[in-house]
């Protein structure tokens, strides 16, 4: 009876499923997609079983672990620097003098990295710096855009409460933006982490001397080893999801009111 009820509500617009039903739905749909891939896959596109075998092989090699750690370290470093730069720019943007700079950074989203790689190569000392600066240039405009949107959405009542408490403007900035939006920093980073993770494979491809998952991906691509390419993509996807979950959990832990 309950099962029939679930089947019915599953197709109703705006209906909410309980967590267990939703998980069953995700697992079932994933299994169906894998099955369809296994049955229909032919020619150059490897079957899931081949990708799984390649993944098993990858996980046992030291090369993969080393490259993965290199990528994670670089991403972590880039994210940390990006967050610091973003916070300085976004908090500064509430002061009219610094607002144009923040607005310029926001518009930099429309600049492509491809045409700027040579400039960055000239400006940096080595491959490591080049990768880091490219990542920063790619991530910061998106983080600043998202965080400025958070600041702009601040309800007027938050500032008015500060005023009624007799706060001056600096105190209001501290309470409403720096303290009040601290949880949003995590949310913005979580939402934009995908950009950093996506870019890592690109910048590692530009400078392969230090390795990294991107360099490994290019190597397998070069030899047309598609099972390993897809296995690496699966790893990138899986780690992305794990880090997304980790950032979300960390946000709830650090800022318990976000769960209410």
């Amino acid at each position: 009876m309950a099962s029939r009820f679930n089947k019915v509500i599953m197709f109703k617009p705006f209906e909410k499923l309980n967590r267990q039903t939703f998980l069953i739905l995700v697992v079932a749909q994933s299994a169906f997609a894998l099955l369809a891939w296994q049955v229909s896959g032919q020619g150059l596109i490897p079957h899931p079983s081949a990708v799984l075998a390649a993944l098993g092989h990858l996980l046992t090699t030291r090369l993969f672990v080393d490259n993965l750690l290199t990528s994670l370290l670089l991403t972590g470093q880039a994210l940390l620097y990006s967050v610091v730069i973003t916070l300085v720019l976004a908090y500064g943007a509430v002061i009219p003098f610094f607002a144009p700079l923040a607005q310029f950074i926001v518009k930099c989203r429309y600049l492509t990295l491809t045409g700027l790689i040579f400039i960055f190569t000239l400006l940096t000392r080595d491959g490591s710096q080049l990768k880091l600066s490219l990542l920063l240039f790619g991530i910061v405009p998106f983080l600043v855009t998202s965080f400025l949107a958070v600041i702009l959405r601040t309800p007027a009542q938050e500032f008015e409460l500060c005023q009624t408490l007799g706060y001056n403007r600096w105190q209001s900035l501290y309470e409403v933006i720096i303290i009040g939006k601290a949880d949003q920093v995590f949310e913005v980073v979580r939402q934009n982490f995908a950009i950093a993770w996506m870019m890592i494979t690109m910048v590692e491809g530009l400078n392969m001397s230090e390795g990294g998952i991107g360099a490994l991906l290019i190597k397998y691509n070069k030899y047309n080893d598609l099972p390993h390419v897809l296995a690496l993509q699966a790893v990138i996807f899986g780690i992305g999801l794990c880090l997304d979950y980790l950032l979300g959990t960390l946000r709830h832990w650090l800022f318990p009111y976000t769960k209410l």
Binding site: Q157, E158, E160, L161, Q163, T164, L165, G166, Y167, E175, V176, I179, G180, A182, D183, F255, P256, Y257, L260
Partner: protein, 281 residues
């Protein structure tokens, strides 16, 4: 009619020729009123003033002007401030008049807004730290108020975990801790059930008796409840031939023997006054 001994003394708040427009549309004009210190022998009697009017008449705009959050287009709102300062002749002047600024009045918004990221304890501490008179005694003051207002058990909770009544009490305590003599309340009775409403009324009366200069300004469209706890009612309405709103009537409930009485709602004179107010809207 029960007459109570009282005198109206110094001006605590004065609105003079206040007007406000939006996009050349007149919202408020020619607003004049005065709130005086009411002195009752043997009592710490604060002032409770109601500002009533129909929905959309401009009550919230006047509320914002009184709170200092918005400036009038013309005219001024002045308050009396307790600031001991030396006069040229060597005497001490205890009070001075000045134009109301944001932060001068304790403001309780209609939705009892609080910082969502602060626990009750933290929110109250923020307010207490703004009050120089409480320096070093903030914790004690918070404990005292929260026990008095029966919310001592929710100090570690966030606003989202509080009921509407609890949120209202936190807002009131927060503004009391800040130490302002004036407390502005926007629609404090809206959306409350009968039991909670009685508690809120009791609470406001309690606040009004906490200090001689404590002045509550209640902006409400719940005429009967507002009038039942007020000493003066100002009616905001429209006059023929004018676009905006202005104060059309001031009713002194003390003169009518209808102030400071718990059972006032049972009085025929009170019912007649409510009808009179409704007639002015």
């Amino acid at each position: 009619m029960i007459m109570t001994s009282y005198t109206k003394q110094d001006v605590l708040l004065q609105a003079t020729d206040v007007s406000l427009s939006y996009d050349r549309k007149c919202i408020l004009y020619d607003i004049h009123f005065t709130v005086r210190d009411i002195v009752r022998p043997g009592l710490q009697q604060g002032q409770v003033v109601s500002l009533v009017g129909r929905s959309g008449i401009g009550k919230t705009q006047l509320f914002r002007l009184l709170s200092g959050l918005q400036r009038p287009d013309s005219g001024e709102i002045t308050i009396r401030e307790r600031v001991p300062s030396a006069r040229p002749d060597g005497s001490i002047q205890v009070y001075r008049e000045r134009i109301v600024q944001p932060g001068d009045m304790g403001v309780i918004f209609q939705n009892y807004y609080q910082f969502g990221w602060r626990t009750v304890q933290q929110s109250l501490m923020l307010a207490a730290r703004q009050n120089k008179a409480l320096t070093g005694k903030e914790e004690d003051a918070i404990r005292q108020y929260t026990q008095q207002f029966d919310i001592a058990d929710v100090l570690s909770r966030y606003p989202a975990q509080l009921s509407g009544g609890q949120q209202q009490r936190v807002s009131i305590i927060q503004q009391l801790l800040k130490g302002s003599d004036f407390l502005l309340l926007d629609e404090p009775f809206s959306g409350l059930d009968v039991c909670v409403l009685d508690k809120v009324v009791e609470l406001l009366l309690q606040v009004s008796l906490s200090d001689e200069l404590k002045t509550l300004i209640i902006v409400s469209h719940d005429i009967a409840t507002a009038a039942a706890i007020s000493d003066t009612v100002f009616i905001l309405g429209k006059k023929p031939g004018h676009e905006g709103s202005t104060l059309v009537r001031e009713i002194d409930l003390i003169e009518r023997g209808l102030a400071w009485r718990k059972d006032v709602r049972q009085e025929k004179a009170f019912g007649d006054t409510i009808q009179e107010i409704k007639g002015c809207l």
